[in-house]
Assembly symmetry: D3
Homo-oligomer: 274 residues x 6
């Protein structure tokens, strides 16, 4: 069950409201790198977690923290929209600041939300829940979470680089720090469960006889005019310890040419296809 | 530039066509765990790759292979739909096999595609390209790729477990194998670039002064009636080597209660808000 | 800031797991009548609330409760999926119960989520955040909330009618009760602010001179072969107390025929249009 | 059956074409507050209306009127795009008006529609029909309609406030007026059917024994550090006349901690989860 | 301006209600081959039509007819849902007809719409307006319309083939007939404007100097192990009369290998990329 | 099976990087008129092609070419983003070029993709695969392909008109040329199969007895105050040679008024409806 306390997890101050930056911040709320995504992803993973109870608790606990991050950012957006113009007066019509509202801002902050945050990204596209990655496989899910946090910290860093507002930089520095920890937290779960080698290949419960293992360890070079690049992936023992990496240059098809024959009667095709 | 040869990368045989399995296979084509996704994700990552040219080549090469996997699965769907009924005849109306077409199959395989594959998932929801994760940060992108392959192999294993068609099991065993390699291929890129420790936290180019590092290494326990779970994440040196993990039990808010005051005039609010 | 305690807001028991009902329950999680929607709607309204602080508190408080409802329903879905088949064995292939998995269940519960809840509706369509209605106008927002709760209670009643599982009926009876209160809670806010008459027309801050009031109080009958239906809407004082309702039968257009003339050069039209 | 007459329902004049305002107007066509939405919502409600025939007629009649509003706004968008630049000439490249096309306008008005209206919102996001709320419950549907009209009038007022074009203000004043009536029209249906008290809780056909009525009348305060706000919702007789409002401070969970146990074999989980 | 008369454009009778067929019919309402699409496509094309006024009138007139087709199909869906079960009683639990409701029917017809039509396709995916193709180029638009009607008639034929309900076959025969005419109507517009040869290539207003015409008339064979297929497209005068078709076997790239170099500082990439 | 060679199909040069043009170019990648769409549409049509094998080969061959066009455009976007600002420095804050980044550019090029192409359109809306039109009817599919290429060439011409960058004009001239050929290529397939007259009405395999042919050849004029426009569509032999065109002025409904009666018990309606 969820509870709420009235103060924000971290303080939010905007020194100079900027409706353009309000638009950019939306990416951290409703973008695929954003906080709605991680909150919901961890929440749904928690509800489907089977096995080690510690992981379920961590997922629910961090989901709860991410909800608080939405709250932080939502307030930051609203503060950046304070004082934004709602009317195109004669005198300000040629003022670049007013024009910027239309040009660089999200017009729906004015038209649809009454100068507050929306669950959309920096293009105004609403977040959709297909981005909640939750497979029920703890290995796949932890990797999805590290990925989400890596994207999140990349975004927060770019926002930090962009703005020159001291209050916003302070808030972003906090979010960058939490994204650091969360990246490592989910990787640490993999460590705790035996490490990456033991986890691979995911799912590690798939029996070897379900796998055509002669195809499991070669790099397939489909580039016709280039040699395969060499590296950790092209030779040496495999990361899962089950094989040895090789390279397949200029691969030949192993299958046949697909043919479907004529169309079935009454299937709605043209006569010429039947 | 892309080229095509007429044979499939791997042979596709269906012993007993099954329109229900055709519907399940769609998840491997148009699902978020599917082949369109990885093909397009690697393709767009390749087009934006900066830095080590080997990685760009790998991304483009594997994108190309994944296109061939779409082709394999698309043929498998069509073969599973061979002979599916297109008409509700009196005699077959109570036949469970015919009913299964409507019940367990995707009706749009009949109504919309003329008995062939579609770029949709097992619920008939079209793939949308927001799932192409490509940040321009090679660390975040490699993790997104491992995640995608982990999801893909989990799905392929579930499809393998479900079906009892020998031809389909053979095809899936091939795809499981390739997903094994691709998981490790992208992890091997991280190894090649210095390993996970050096990569963390992503992006590793963010200066430490952009980060409120006092918040970078604690597990935040938002669960009110439980102790924080202990593990690799709660104590010991951090995975990035920059700090030491601790736990923050029962966290207090660090910010203030957010207040927006009265609504601006002409902002479309109710009078009572102004 | 959000917190979590480990027990569910209400107890969840499933007497006989039913993967078909798991699919139906998804509508109450990820449908437009579902709990993600109200949780997020109240959350975003709270973050943008201006004016009376009590309303902001209520929005945040009830958003928090709705998050707990997601948790209840997510657990109910997982319990209904306990024991669902993951393999099509020879012997069970003709078993209608197994077939029902494919026919009446959501195949992604098996393929994608590992037998647990997903943020999708009963058709498997992911929830998208465009359904978070939050205008910043407290009148419009309260009505959107009553609407959401009315849809929610209608859905919960239909689920109650459908199932014969005692545990599920118990859980749904709780949700029906909370939807009762929430409908009235948001209407009570309108009462508290002066009642519906004072709230109308929303926004009540729009000056009368911005409105062509000669068009504000007639029912327009666009049906050519029928009289306008009579009722509270067709005569008598208007609900906002500003006018008197009338009926306009067989309306005439007040505007001109629209004409755009020829296409601009270089606008990509056909020559014949220029 | 539908018919059309060639003139617009209301006259549309644009004094000074403004591609930026064309973009804003799109919200009133293809936004969730827009005319496609109400036209389609009333149309689908009409097609599913059971019970009092007057309501079906009203729904179809007003659906038809809303189609005429799309037509008005579509023409307004095209007129605002008259004369918009289609080419980046040297001399105009630094002209802020030309730049505004790219900055403040929707580039697809130029690239995709040939300078005319599109069924998208002010962010260029296409309208999707999931926003057609039609439950078959006349109470829920009427509330959805009042909500839609409240959102619509809020939007129209904001557009009115924004523009300084006299022709556009005249058109918007008409739309504001019609939204006034439509809000009240749907509320008047509830009055006609017995009033709000009789309608509540929606659906009013749910038997009381389907409802855990001990949970139907309390405000649940999930805020840990604040008292529940007091008002019409916290004490006194309930709006439906069936109970008395109370407050539940600091609620305790009524359920158990959810546990799913180990993962099923062959379910695609990691070995460690089984 | 639109008007409505109360009778349907064509009579709708369902001899034996079938909730499974209700689901299939949804494709003709809310599918990409369906009536909402053509109604809205012609409507938006009409509102943007520049040049010959006859075409604008035809577009608006046929848009209006298509609205009447939605009405026909919406009623057909509701009639097919008459008597569908809303409760899972003990005795009927094993009845295949009741099971078919869940298996072969759209559960949201029961849960969400109260047994009536919805603006979704046969998979329950809501129609989205991105499928309204309207470019402002009359040639491209007419082709889009023929395409839509070709898809529509294909779908209607498949529905006709599927059902054995006499009333439904009668209704579909009407829709098939109208789709016949509409296909030809839009092709006839191209004839009227000078014929296909004059219309090509679309847009025919693009000056030849904007086109690298040495690339305008060859078939590019990207298949490495097959000759280009021969036909009308591989030799002879071009359909637009401006050139002669040829074939380019085994094409060589004309460009360079793309290289982006190192990542920019502060762009959020990994250090190794900079 | 697919292969790749490292050079681009055509050379890509940007004389003066322009982040605004990068945004516009996105329409040609991820718009409905763009290259992802045609690549995937031809690919899926190929996988479902039944009948004449030449057409399957053409579809796969041209799908492969379109993939190469994505590659060209993706590189063009990245080159246009070279040097785009990633930080809002004091001195540049009032620089219109920097402001244009936020105003006229896609902010996600900066925030999400690290200055490279994304699978989105010019509004930043991701491409979704519902736009892959593939019916299995070769007539409908060829028309869908001509339509797609007509839209594509219209877009490419508009982009050509807009930009003044010589390199970009050169690239676009190539794409315009290929779109010319592809339009005609698919029309030539119809010619090869017997011509448009033989193809009509699509599907040409629908038996005449499935069609209410008394409704197949009249133009229905639903405009109440205008005569039907005259032209090729209103008189003379039909394009399919099966009938004669006529006009139906002021059409009367042929059906009855739809009535659904009272709502079913337990269907979740209001009491008043039952």
């Amino acid at each position: 069950m969820f509870h709420h306390s009235s103060k924000l997890q971290y303080h939010v101050k905007v020194d100079k409201p900027d409706p353009q930056f309000a638009k950019l911040l939306q990416q951290a709320i409703g973008g695929i790198e954003g906080e709605i995504r991680v909150a919901m992803q961890y929440f749904f993973q928690a509800m489907g977690a089977r096995g080690d109870d510690r992981i379920r608790d961590m997922l629910m606990s961090t989901a709860t923290e991410e909800l608080s991050h939405i709250e932080i950012l939502g307030h930051a957006v609203a503060l950046n929209l304070e004082g934004a113009p709602v009317s195109l007066q004669e005198e300000s019509a040629k003022d670049p600041v007013v024009n910027a509202i239309l040009g660089g801002a999200n017009p729906r902050h004015l038209l649809s939300s009454g100068l507050s945050a929306m669950p959309v990204n920096a293009n105004g596209v609403p977040f959709d829940m297909s981005h909640v990655y939750a497979t029920g496989n703890i290995g796949a899910d932890m990797l999805a979470n590290v990925t989400a946090e890596a994207g999140g910290r990349t975004l927060a860093s770019r926002l930090y680089n962009w703005t020159d507002d001291k209050g916003m930089k302070d808030m972003l520095a906090f979010l960058i720090a939490r994204d650091t920890y969360h990246q490592e937290q989910w990787l640490a779960v993999i460590e705790e469960l035996g490490g990456m080698k033991a986890a691979l290949p995911i799912p590690n419960s798939t029996p070897e006889e379900h796998e055509a293992m002669e195809h499991s360890y070669y790099y397939l070079n489909t580039l016709m005019d280039k040699e395969a690049p060499e590296g950790r992936w092209s030779s040496g023992p495999s990361l899962d310890g089950r094989g040895e990496y090789t390279v397949k240059q200029q691969p030949e098809p192993l299958g046949e040419e697909p043919k479907l024959g004529r169309a079935k009667e009454k299937s709605g095709a043209q006569k010429e296809q039947m």
